[in-house]
Point group: C2
Chain length 363, copies 2
Amino acid sequence: MSQPYNRVYNFSAGPCTLPVEVLEEARDGLMNYQGTGMSVMEMSHRSAAFEGILHEAEANLKELMKVPDNYRVLFQQGGASMHASIIAMSYLKQGPKPQYITTGTWGQKSMEYAKVVGELDEIYSGKADGYRCAPDFDSLPINPEAAYAYFTSNETIQGVQFQQDPNVAATWVCDMSSDILARNVDVSKYAIIYAGAQKNQGPAGVVTVIIRDDMLARVPENMAPMFDYRVQAKNDSLYNTPPCWPIYMCGLVYQWVEREGGVSEMNRRNKEKAGLIYKAIDESGGFYKGHASQEVRSIMNVSFTLPDEALTERFVKEAEAEKLDGLKGHRSVGGIRASIYNAFPKEGCEVLAQFMRDFAARA
Amino acid sequence: MSQPYNRVYNFSAGPCTLPVEVLEEARDGLMNYQGTGMSVMEMSHRSAAFEGILHEAEANLKELMKVPDNYRVLFQQGGASMHASIIAMSYLKQGPKPQYITTGTWGQKSMEYAKVVGELDEIYSGKADGYRCAPDFDSLPINPEAAYAYFTSNETIQGVQFQQDPNVAATWVCDMSSDILARNVDVSKYAIIYAGAQKNQGPAGVVTVIIRDDMLARVPENMAPMFDYRVQAKNDSLYNTPPCWPIYMCGLVYQWVEREGGVSEMNRRNKEKAGLIYKAIDESGGFYKGHASQEVRSIMNVSFTLPDEALTERFVKEAEAEKLDGLKGHRSVGGIRASIYNAFPKEGCEVLAQFMRDFAARA
């Protein structure tokens, strides 16, 4: 069965598949957006049309995530890595050393960025066991007085995902880049949630920052305005020219999520989709081995290995021939990684699961 | 005469008009880019297809600007304001205080960002006369040993443009956001040229940084990797996920500039286009008054005033009815601003000039 526009099943870890309907909408308005006589790419960020796009995107994200009134949603320049730095620059020195929980590559990198700023405590590291696990929050020596406590809710490379929000009090800062909008989150448990757009929100080039009012108030005085969340909030993400097109695309994706049934429905679909692939792993008699421990398996990134390197290469090559694209795992884990974010269709997971069974049988 | 797709003449100061051909190309590849089976927005930044896009854009910009071999071209996250901060964070303390030349709002802002980092010398300010002038470089007390010397080549709000490259030696840093690719520049005169994309290059969300090798070597050790040009150069602008779509669009614009005859042809057209509007100002018998001094008039942004506020409002409103959009001047200068970057068609300048004559006659 072929996909519309002769598209492939794109298992890329991000940037990644966007909903076909959203792309069609972007295409159809590209020469002249809703009678404005111009593309969204050509629109002054101070125009009523663009301000409408921005504020609607903000309102839609707030609604989808049930963001409480004492939080602000900001659309910021840069990527998640940049904001890992900005957060450390802003808050690391405000109180006892921040506590970092690292369950994979992105948590590790964010911690390294923070170390450039000052000292911190790594209170959990999954490194020794190759990043296969995630701890229960209440098993950790959390200091509620620490400057903040940091974790990555879903590690895209290792496919390790926290299964719940923190259940102990702390100034929680969470990089939710790769599972925002994929499961219901109680935003009130967090001080800051931030997420690069290029997984579940839109194209690369914008970061959403959901930040509690008291964290805005705590931004130190000597921050450069561009990196000052208080300045950004005061100016409604329009302190200077924002990445207009990526924001517009995020807005279209938020509307699509809403139309499809919201975050709960995304979660139901993601569990079902991931379940198809994990089933193919678990029923392969050990031919495929999942990287993450069963209880923390990601519903966004399914990382698994094959018996050897030659089979892995053959798997990737033969999959590509069937239009299953982007399956090669990250070099640090090896094997295969199937990233199946919100917009990735269930049918693609079915096709992959069948391909896995066929491949194991003939290999 | 109506424009294709019922588009308006978009005089916005940026984001701004892009070439119709470029938009068509983006639209036509939006569902499936060149047989890859996906949009550029959905493409892994580590894929061969995207690396091709990135490296071609880099090569094209180098060729268009005749960038010498001892410079690197980087495509960076953020906007020009962010890089004004990053440059100060990187270099301000390396040597005697940097020297700032401020000929308008953007230079002023960049200087304010630098002051967050440390001390500097403002060796020229156009503020007292309302930013109408730009100095001759060789009339200034330039210290070639200073950490760097900073200026904004074209001030979009005031419409004040330097007419030549610096003719005295210094570590020149230039914000060229609004006139890059609009005139020939001798890159070898500069240590760093940087430019937000959203005027002459593409949509908002990416900044091009053209940086000399010795400046890369001088990045201090304690910079956050995201703000470290050396790290960014070493990783060919792929240290982390770049703003892929804005970079792709810039690449299409570079190709368009090349097809149309390169920077010299852009410059010829821009002079001609701006000349049409300045002529309408100068022949209005004082009804219209240009903001900038004659000798530093910008070929990118034509700022002028009308006799009073009521006439200005009426001008904007009646112009809009004729599909002349985005002409309202910045509140700090008032009046009218016609931004006519590379992609703005000559015909739109003719229509505006005629409208100006008609309006003055009936007002």
